[in-house]
């Protein structure tokens, strides 16, 4: 089994090799040179990060965002979190706002029609990555990471046009 930090480092290297642009995220511990993508509810009044949702890794390619949650062992909470973010207009709005706040797309010279991403989740790809466990989620891409090996599983509802991005 590899650690969450190893999973993080592996994907940070692997996905750009496939043409994905790293937009932001947060390492399991410590600092890294990229914007933290922290989604806050519109009426967010809690102090600090309480009640917010942070995306572990976020990539962009050909109009698609890849939202990735990482764990050493598969955990259903990651699936629930990404479903909540992608399937709920309120959280999609918070996602776009987080990107704007940090100028995360501007820094990579990417421009999008924000409204399109708020109104629909079609271009948000949900993905989880882990080293140990088993999962089967129709709308998710799963990365199974082990020493020197990255295995990709596409959920049954993942369209061909998305599959070819990897």
């Amino acid at each position: 089994m590899v650690s969450e930090t190893q999973i993080y480092l592996n994907l940070k290297k692997y996905l750009p090799e496939k043409g994905w642009i790293l937009i932001g995220g947060e390492p399991p511990n410590g600092t890294n040179s990229m914007p933290r993508i922290e989604l806050k509810e519109e009426m967010h009044t809690a102090k600090g990060s309480k009640g917010s949702k942070k995306i572990d890794l976020l990539f962009f390619k050909e109009g698609y965002f890849l939202l990735l949650e990482l764990k050493e062992r598969y955990n259903i909470s990651d699936v629930k979190k990404l479903n909540e973010v992608a399937d709920n207009e309120k959280w999609r709005r918070a996602f776009i706002l987080a990107l704007k706040e940090k100028r995360a797309l501007e820094m990579k010279n990417i421009s999008i029609n924000a409204r399109e991403y708020i109104l629909s989740n079609k271009k948000l790809i949900k993905a989880i990555a882990y080293s140990k466990g088993k999962s089967n989620h129709a709308e998710f891409i799963t990365f199974i990471i082990n020493e020197g090996e990255i295995k990709l599983n596409f959920g049954s509802n993942i369209k061909q046009e998305i599959k070819q991005l990897f």
Binding site: T5, L9, G30
Partner: protein
Amino acid sequence: MKIKIYCDALQEGEWFKNLSPSFKNSELLEINNRGRNPPIIEKLIEYDRPDIILVIDGEVKLALEKTEEVPTGHNVGQRFARIVKSAELRIPFIYFCPFVAMKHGKYANKCFINARLFTAIENMSKIHNVTILVMNWITDDNYELIRGGREDTELKLLMSDLLANNFSFKKSKIVKNILNKMSSEKVDRIKMHPSYEEPPNTVKIINTFSFVSDLKKRFGDFKISPRFMKNNETIFYILGMTPENCRREDPYTGTQLVYDYYWCRTGAKTNERKRNLVLNIPMVTKKRWLEANPNETHKKRHLYYSIPDMLILKDGIIITENLNNKQRRLMRWYQKLKST
């Protein structure tokens, strides 16, 4: 040259490795939990863990902390204890953080470094005769952090210069330049907020004699060292912890050290002070405090007992000198018992 880079998180180690081509073949090692590292690393993480420890041919050349948080508010003291330990061991330290950056959220605004940090660091640097650098993580015109490598330019130059100078910080022109930048940043911040030269609202400078008299009226007579009474003034730092949230280390264990080096310390040891250092936790009882924060040597909370002279709680006081003497006596007794 055998180079080892110890890191708190692997991505930080990899980042550091990229600061110089000379580090290319270095060994990258994660800092383990306390008790599971080589002695030189153990000593350095006694108070807290820095992000990077650079070891060349078995000798620690520097420690480094990298953060995207501007040292302001609670962030000023949060990372300070790890700088202090490094200074005590006379190991140069680099604190890489933004001097100004945009704070996001409901009250979004640009946020500047707290000038008190520079003064505390200057004093600490003089006391321990060691170089401590605060280097600016640069931002763009919108005060967003520069990312992707350009922010590391000065650090790369510094590494190359230090490698060429066998890590003699005193000989490095780049070090001199960074120290100048720190001084001018401090001046600018104080110009903007003259209050930075005064203690914050949570800190009072009080008269030691009246303070001790008041305490004795409140809690009865107690033994206090002549050293404590010799200092006319005492730094009285108020910690707003409640009984529910008092099992807490950050930022207080580090912040007390900022105030110690700013207003109290005259020498390398905690008994070398021109002012006493007292922590006041008025909402928490002694029983609750000791239950939530026992003096565990492997945890940062041991700094509550090894740094200040005294803790004042809702219903009692803890004089750390007495406590530490008692502990030392117990330790001697235990060792004697073990040997017989």
